[in-house]
């Protein structure tokens, strides 16, 4: 059924057992993002060390899609350079905008390809992007901060 294309097994797994959830004390920056149309929230702590995502953790409330997507995102970017993370993020955004026409690059997106089905449900795309947008915001702040003398 159509629903299964949205709620793939791996998504429900991440939802039930989210990664990097629970805010760690270590952080350069903290951001708080909300989805105003449904009230979902995510708080994200990020440390960037020499251009590399050295620590990321988060907390929040939200639907299965937003929770799973944030969990998957944190797995994907940890240990990567911010530049590489942005490539993943752009790729993921493109997948979300694809209206069900793309499957997603599994090499790059790994578990996130399971979210491809979300692109067929316009109201859910914001859920899937919530954590990613928080990461983007946090990383920009972290880099801006580190550039200051």
């Amino acid at each position: 059924m159509e629903l299964d294309s949205l709620y793939q097994e791996v998504i429900l797994d991440h939802y039930k057992h989210p990664h990097h959830k629970g805010l760690s004390a270590e952080k350069d920056v903290q951001v708080h993002h909300v989805n105003p149309s449904c009230g979902d929230e995510v708080t994200l702590n990020l440390s960037v060390d020499g251009g590399i995502v050295s620590n990321i953790s988060w907390d929040g409330v939200g639907c299965s899609i937003s929770q799973a997507s944030t969990s998957i995102m944190t797995e994907l970017v940890t240990g990567k350079s911010v530049a590489d993370a942005y490539i993943i993020l752009d790729n993921f955004s493109e997948l979300m905008a694809s209206k069900g026409t793309m499957k997603g690059n599994e090499d790059l997106l790994e578990d996130a390809v399971a979210l491809a089905g979300v692109s067929k449900f316009p109201a859910r795309i914001k859920c899937a992007l919530l954590g990613w947008m928080a990461f983007k915001d946090a990383s920009v702040q972290a880099i801006d901060g580190s550039e200051k003398p």
Partner: protein, 408 residues
């Protein structure tokens, strides 16, 4: 039901539509759709302006709609102002207040207070926050109880001699709670405060008579009352509308104009600047005539039956909590609920798969959600075209969501 063309369309997987989102917007009978089309096809012209036959006919249709609205809520014709929505109506009152000069009955200042309730829709909360900000007045609110009623015991304490405005909803769009207007109006009258009633969720569902309610202002939306989008109503007592400053300026609301200044036409004109939503008003007139033909007592009785049936069915569901009064007394046909272990968005998604349209989230009453410590609910709201079978479909849908997410 046969009067509502949209109810014949099919949903995902060929399912029939079970529309349970009338609290957000109602569906439209064919007569409303036709009234608008006919206006455009036969008498479209700018009202209040032309001296030709089309303009005369357009004017008669537009002013005829105003009369229908006035009769529907027991008002005088000139007390009915067409706006674009209830949201605009409430903002209009707030702006008219702050546009009124110091010393007028409508002007607010530091030390004055505005009282609302904790169950308000954002549309009846933020305009007052902003009026407070513009004028230096203080915003206070009547808290809600765990059962989803107003805590009337706080009234005496909150509504005092500093209170200039008491704004509250007739029926909560989340909880279904119908508030005790008489008690609230009495408290306001005692201290000389003006009352503003958000009637978005009452006028569509039961007979509302402005005179017997005793409020000073009332706002509701056409689109929730079987009417077109883009039309709302602001009602105010004649003497207040007369004394109030307008808030939108332009054509058709003036008495005279020079380059330096302008004076205003009498109400309702002074609150209707510009070419109005004529087809919307006419369509809305047709909507109220449709409701008149059903009889508001019958509408109310049917919704009471739906509410009772739904509450009974929901009380049998495991892991499901209804947010709001658990009995059908002073309560409208809105069931907000949470499902243990499933986020509202996910509940809504599964229901959608079954052709059931509900709303999920904070329902523009975010502070109320925070009060109850939840991010949102799933809300089913009913109207005249709903049946007991729709409730069975909903209950089966909720169970299937629980099964899908393996929480039962």
């Amino acid at each position: 039901m046969k009067d509502f063309p949209i109810l014949r369309r099919s949903m995902r997987g060929g399912k029939r539509l079970t529309y349970l989102d009338s609290g957000a917007t109602s569906q439209k009978p064919q007569s409303v759709i036709d009234a608008q089309s006919t206006f455009y096809a036969e008498k479209n012209a700018a009202v209040h302006r032309g001296a030709h036959l089309l303009a005369e006919e357009a004017d008669a249709a537009y002013e005829g709609a105003r009369k229908i609205v006035a009769n529907f809520i027991g008002a005088e014709i000139d007390e009915v102002v067409f706006t674009k929505s209830a949201t605009e109506s409430i903002n209009a009152i707030a702006y008219s207040f702050s546009n009124s000069g110091a010393g007028s009955r409508f002007s607010l200042k530091p030390g004055d207070s505005i009282v609302v309730t904790e169950m308000e829709h954002h549309a009846n909360l933020i305009p007052w926050q902003q009026l407070a900000r513009r004028t230096g007045a203080t915003l206070k609110w009547i808290p809600v109880t765990q059962e989803g009623r107003l805590d009337y015991s706080t009234l005496d304490h909150l509504v005092d001699s500093s209170t200039k405005v008491l704004a509250f909803t007739h029926q909560s769009n989340v909880l279904g709670t119908i508030n005790d207007v008489a008690q609230l109006v009495a408290a306001a009258k005692k201290v000389g405060a003006l009352t503003v009633l958000d009637a978005c969720q009452s006028v569509p569902h039961f007979a509302v008579d402005v005179k017997s309610l005793g409020v000073d202002f009332l706002a509701f939306s056409g689109h929730k009352t079987l009417g077109p989008t883009g039309i709302g109503i602001l009602w105010g007592r004649a003497e207040l509308l007369d004394a109030m400053e307008p808030y939108l300026y332009g054509g058709s609301m003036i008495e005279s104009v020079t380059m330096e200044s302008a004076t205003w036409a009498p109400a309702p004109r002074k609150f209707e600047a510009g070419v109005p939503n004529m087809a919307g008003a006419v369509g809305f007139g047709a909507a109220l005539e449709y409701l008149n033909s059903l009889g508001m007592e019958n509408v109310h009785a049917w919704e009471q039956e739906l509410t009772q049936y739904a509450l009974d069915k929901f009380s049998e569901l495991k892991g499901v909590t209804v947010i709001g009064p658990k009995d059908a007394i002073d309560r409208g046909a809105v069931i907000s609920f949470t499902v243990e272990g499933i986020h509202p968005h996910d509940v809504g998604q599964v229901l959608d798969q079954h052709g059931i349209a509900v709303r999920t989230g904070h329902h523009c009453a975010w502070p109320l959600m925070k009060k109850y410590g939840i991010t949102g609910t799933t809300r089913a709201s009913f109207y005249i075209y709903n049946t007991l079978a729709d409730i069975d479909t909903l209950v089966a849908g909720v169970i299937s969501a629980q099964e899908y997410f393996k929480v039962i």
